[in-house]
């Protein structure tokens, strides 16, 4: 064990740091998917496309700003702007024009409607940004690297991935928890999640709540994408990969569980990056193995509540 650690300790340290940053990104996407599911009762297959479009938009805005001589710090504004833009431009029409028509329909139909949206958005993305890789790592370069002490060694790691990503994920989690528990709008959303009919009977405008929630969830996905954009170069297919991963996080946590999604994002993020360093051929499989293992023991997910039907 000690011998193994001497040989592989640094690699493990790097895997953990990577995993943390990765978990932060995955959490941002998964929590949006989960929030939308909680209120709309729809698993949005196109959620991953919103992530991808958010990423592309952020990179484009960042590159545009840099080309016009703005300092790299401005590209942080680009990250936020991209999220707001994508949420505001794509969220409302998708909810109003498409999803609203299938509320309460069969799950199969709802999944397929969002699958159709996914197909459309994937091509929109290809038409706008092409198939060549797009990259803007200015925000990450701007903050430089930090030497993380690890035993007797140090691991140089980007400050962006070490502080910004996990920091923003924790902020999002805390902010969301505060919003849902302490603000009126938040309480209303929770009420609709718990019992839509009762909430409507109490005079809550469920139509507005679903619109707001979906738009917010879309913005969260886009924000996740925007934050991811400096760490990687963007190619078609990002959306398809992201959605299955956030599915895995959400299912592992239990549908509709916000804090739970943070725990399972961490579990899956770390598991995946450990695989990346030690068994790369299993990188993609690990999240699903974690998910299947959890569901075998707890079919409703780690934090999910089993549903019982009244007879």
């Amino acid at each position: 064990m000690t011998a193994w650690f001497t040989d592989n300790g640094l690699l493990l340290g790097l895997a953990l740091l990577d995993g943390l940053a990765y978990a932060a990104l995955v959490f941002m996407v998964a929590v949006g998917l989960n929030l939308v599911f909680g209120v709309l009762r729809i698993v949005n297959v196109a959620h991953g496309s919103l992530f991808a479009i958010g990423a592309y938009t952020a990179a484009s805005i960042g590159l545009f700003l840099a080309a016009h001589g703005l300092p790299p710090v401005a590209s942080y504004g680009a990250l936020l702007l991209a999220a707001v833009l994508v949420g505001a431009v794509l969220g409302p029409p998708i909810e109003r024009l498409v999803l609203r028509r299938v509320y309460g329909h069969e799950d199969a139909l709802q999944l397929l409607v969002t699958f159709a949206l996914f197909m459309i958005l994937e091509d929109v993305q290809k038409l706008v940004w092409g198939v060549q890789p797009v990259a803007n790592d200015a925000p990450m370069k701007y903050l430089g690297t930090v030497d993380v002490p690890f035993g007797e060694d140090v691991i140089p790691f980007t400050a962006y991935q070490l502080f910004v990503l996990p920091g923003l994920a924790v902020l999002t989690l805390a902010g969301l928890a505060w919003f849902l528990r302490r603000t009126l709008t938040g309480r209303v959303i929770v009420a609709v999640t718990t019992d839509k009919e009762a909430a409507m009977a109490m005079g809550i405008d469920a139509t507005r709540v679903t619109l707001l929630t979906f738009t917010f969830g879309a913005a969260l996905a886009a924000f996740g994408g925007a934050l991811a954009s400096p760490t990687t170069s963007l190619v078609p297919g990002v959306g398809a990969q992201t959605i299955v991963l956030s599915f895995a996080v959400v299912a592992t946590a239990g549908l509709g569980q916000i804090e739970g999604a943070a725990v399972s994002a961490l579990l899956i993020g770390l598991g995946r990056s450990v695989a990346v360093y030690f068994a790369p051929e299993f990188e993609v499989v690990v999240p699903y193995i974690i998910m299947v293992a959890v569901l075998l023991v707890r079919p409703q997910g780690l934090f999910g509540v089993p549903e019982t039907r009244r007879v």
Binding site: V43, V45, L111, L112, L127
Partner: protein, 311 residues
């Protein structure tokens, strides 16, 4: 829908396909693939009857296809490879089914998706075995020991696909009308009652699942022998989404639906890809949305309504 009309349409449709394949030889390839996919979609249709949608059924198709690709160099006999593809699909269906039959609705869909992604990433990453994303070329085949000319081989594949499509269509039709098939539909509306009738609902679903996996394996073997090239993309979750898409496009009301849907889908794809190479997915997505929102019965539903209005 009444029996003679459905039978008449099936015979008419088969005749039309033969005629088209004869008149436009380059379409024979497209139609063979369409028929093969239709067989896989027939399996999706079974699960839809139970109100369940599998977003991972391409894993069985890929299993059948890779079975052929792996075994063809050692054992090129198509008439043996075909049942072997079906057999491996069935076996995987039994293993996966034992797990997923415990779940319903979104969890059912997501677990299927996750497990198919496990297969996908194994096919992609185990390069030594599968040649990764390059895929495997299927070696030359023999048919009952003979190696006919290419043109003849194409006709044989077409005939095999058509014959199997008709055979599985009849099988599914009889199954859906049987007590087991009707109980399957009961899972969708009142699973509790099944249990209180002494019927293990899980086993009813498992049977349908394994049958659908068998059809997926058969379809995969046909696809591999027709296209002569298999890639991990066959198992990707978007391929599964396509199968569900075809099921809805054709309509879940009849065993003819999957084949109507598959032919329509493949033709739209061929033309859309030729006309607007970058946007064919968008067009398909648009068609899917339109079908769900405006013609929920699919192509079959439209046809059936026509005939009903006339009768």
């Amino acid at each position: 829908m009444n029996r003679p009309l459905e039978a008449g349409l099936a015979v008419l449709g088969a005749a039309a396909l033969v005629l088209v394949a004869w008149a436009a030889p380059w379409l024979k390839f497209v139609l063979t693939l369409a028929l093969a996919k239709g067989i896989a979609v027939l399996g999706i249709l079974l699960l839809l009857r139970a109100g369940q949608v599998s977003f991972g059924h391409a894993m069985f198709l890929a299993t059948g296809a890779y079975t052929v690709a792996f075994l063809a160099p050692e054992m090129p006999e198509a008439l043996l490879l075909l049942p072997l593809g079906a057999l491996f699909g069935t076996a995987l269906g039994l293993v996966v089914g034992l797990f997923v039959a415990r779940y319903r609705d979104i969890f059912f869909g997501m677990l299927n998706l996750a497990l198919s992604m496990v297969l996908y990433s194994l096919l992609e990453k185990l390069y030594a075995l599968t040649k990764g994303t390059d895929g495997i070329r299927v070696a030359g085949l023999t048919f009952a020991g003979a190696q006919p000319a290419r043109e003849i081989q194409e006709w044989i594949m077409f005939a095999l696909a058509l014959g199997l499509a008709l055979g599985f269509g009849l099988l599914v039709r009889a199954y859906l009308g049987s007590p087991m098939g009707q109980a399957l539909a009961g899972i969708k509306t009142r699973e509790t009652r099944l249990e209180f009738m002494g019927v293990p609902a899980r086993r009813v679903l498992l049977f349908a699942y394994v049958l659908s996996a068998c059809m997926g394996g058969t379809a995969g073997a046909l696809v591999a022998m027709t296209s002569r090239h298999v890639t991990p993309q066959l198992a990707y979750w978007t391929s599964s989404g396509e199968l569900v898409f075809i099921a809805i496009l054709g309509g879940a009301g009849s065993a003819l639906g999957p084949f109507l849907g598959a032919v329509a889908f493949e033709l739209v794809r061929v033309y859309a890809a030729a006309q607007v190479a970058d946007a064919w997915q968008m067009i398909l997505g648009g068609v899917l949305l339109a079908v769900i929102l405006f013609a929920p019965g699919g192509v079959w539903g439209i046809l059936a309504a026509r005939f009903k209005a006339r009768a």
